[in-house]
Amino acid sequence: MKTKTKTKTEKTNIKAALTLATAALLGTSNLAQANTVSTDSAQESTWEFDSAFLFYSEVDRVSAGEAIFNAKKTFANDEILNLKLTVDALTGASASGAVAQPEVQTFTRPSGKGQYDIAAGEVPLDDTFQDTRVQLNAQWTQPIAPNYTASGGVHISKEYDYLSLGINGNLAFDFDRKNSTFSAGFSFFQDTFTPEGGIPKPFSSMLIGDSSSPTWDNDFTETRIGSEDTKTTIDILLGFTQVINRRMITQFNYSYSMVDGYLTDPFKIISVVNGSTGLTQDNIYESRPDSRVKQSIYAQSLYHFDSTVLDVSYRYMWDDWEITSHTLDTRFRIPLGDSFGTESYIQPHFRFYQQSAAEFYQPFLIDGDALPTYASADYRIGEMTTFTVGLKYGLLVNNGHDLSFRLEYYRQTPTDAGFDEPGALQEVDLYPTIDAIIAQITYSF
């Protein structure tokens, strides 16, 4: 008999790669923040707090809630201490990488403790993902000489099966009456992953059967090669900021990132299908290289019109997995004046993203073909276009505190990177579009 047990400790890959914190950490070092005027900066040192809650929800898939509490203290000598607490919780279903089929399919949960069925024609989604993560960041910034500002920080993040520890440091040098700034930064992260069910043997078949049978545990262990693995990430960032004129500022960055260690997603599988019928013969665990080198160039411009502000940025990324991507992000802030709330504003937002598939990305494998060295059917490293449209509304409340609301629509459209679809696969959706809503409320005081 097939049992469908829901285990609360299953992991999803959305949080598996916590090294995102690199970007967040380098972005929040706030080297210029000491100079912005706040209403109570008459005191020698002041605290500023930000609290935010975000809700992310994909139609029929994953939902996540994330809360951030940030405390920033500016000291008498322009030193800044920034402390941030982040808590997020995830629930819902994610694509496992297997292809849809014209018949009902059964898969085993990542923990090995139970199976789940997928209806005919449906994209296989594993819905056992529920987890909570807690993250702490601490960052210290201070001038170390006229025109030199240094910053350093630490990061720790923990969830049931994942631990991430990181440090970062950066230096900024201003010249030409502070119209130009050179900056250099690095970060180092060490992550440990202990997935429920252990690390699967790459390309081994997913064991389907009865998890309550006496031989199950032994058979399942055969498909595992260990209980945990690690990953190291090193990031280097070089930046140049230039004030163009009274209304405009631009920034250009180059970044280099090296990740080494376990980069495979232990919960993702690839379907091996018959070359003419397109029917699944086997589902095997994916395998990715144990290193990845990414580089990116980024340019951003801010322009202040009479009262509105336009923010446009573009990033081009390329890596040794042969993924290239373009990100175009733009925000336009429109002050509304006091009739819509004290010093209120609206800010439309548009983001466009496009990526090419990783060299080893395959939506499925053909039975009988030689196995490639690496393969993954994870659409998140496949060919894809996404766009986001949103609107933010903000106003001052309670004696000058900021309150804002943000609502966005995010649409991910995986596309066919040129794989012929045999037989039954022509009748199913191999590249489903995913729609999501992002809602956020922020209060600063």
Partner: protein, 171 residues
């Protein structure tokens, strides 16, 4: 799609290059129209104020409402104005806000016990080749600039006061 993106990128960056160059040209035109009117008011006002304090040590401060360290320096400037006044000392400030309303709002929240000269076009600042905000200069009893400071640092307050006392001692 990729071709469209390339076109879009070209467009976005061409747009910004156009904005850079057109804005520079426009700013120069505007400055020339008002040049005569401003030259007379702010620089003359400063000269008149300095004349009132001939023979005194003067702390000349350049500030603006959007400058955080300027806000921190005001309580201290009020304090030294009071403390050293009878020894022949004055604080004179030059405000560099382009919009006088913002300066007024700042002064409502942070009153000044010393005079404020308005230099919205920055003519005085340019004349003295101000290098950063805030900036201050200590003028001796002989009317010559003795010390210049860029930025205001609370940990340097004792140094600033030492310099003032040093200049006050010279008769």
């Amino acid at each position: 799609m990729q071709h469209l993106l390339k076109q879009l990128s070209f467009f976005v960056f061409s747009l910004f290059i156009i904005i850079i160059f057109s804005n520079n040209a426009y700013a120069q035109e505007k400055a020339q129209e008002k040049i005569e009117h401003e030259k007379i008011s702010s620089q003359v006002a400063l000269v008149q104020e300095l004349d009132k304090h001939k023979g005194e040590v003067v702390y000349l401060d350049f500030w603006a409402s959007w400058c955080g360290p300027c806000r921190k320096s005001f309580p201290w400037m009020n304090k030294i104005e009071l403390e050293y006044k009878k020894q022949g000392f004055s604080v004179i400030s030059v405000n560099l806000d382009t919009d006088k309303d913002l300066a007024t709002k700042f002064l409502n929240e942070m009153p000044a016990s010393f005079p404020v000269i308005y230099d919205p076009k920055g003519k005085i600042a340019k004349h003295f080749k101000i290098q950063g905000m805030p900036s201050s200069m200590l003028i001796g009893r002989d009317g010559k600039i003795k010390f210049r400071h860029t930025g205001f640092f609370t940990k340097k307050i004792s140094l600033y006061q030492l310099e003032i006392q040093q200049l006050l001692a010279i008769k």
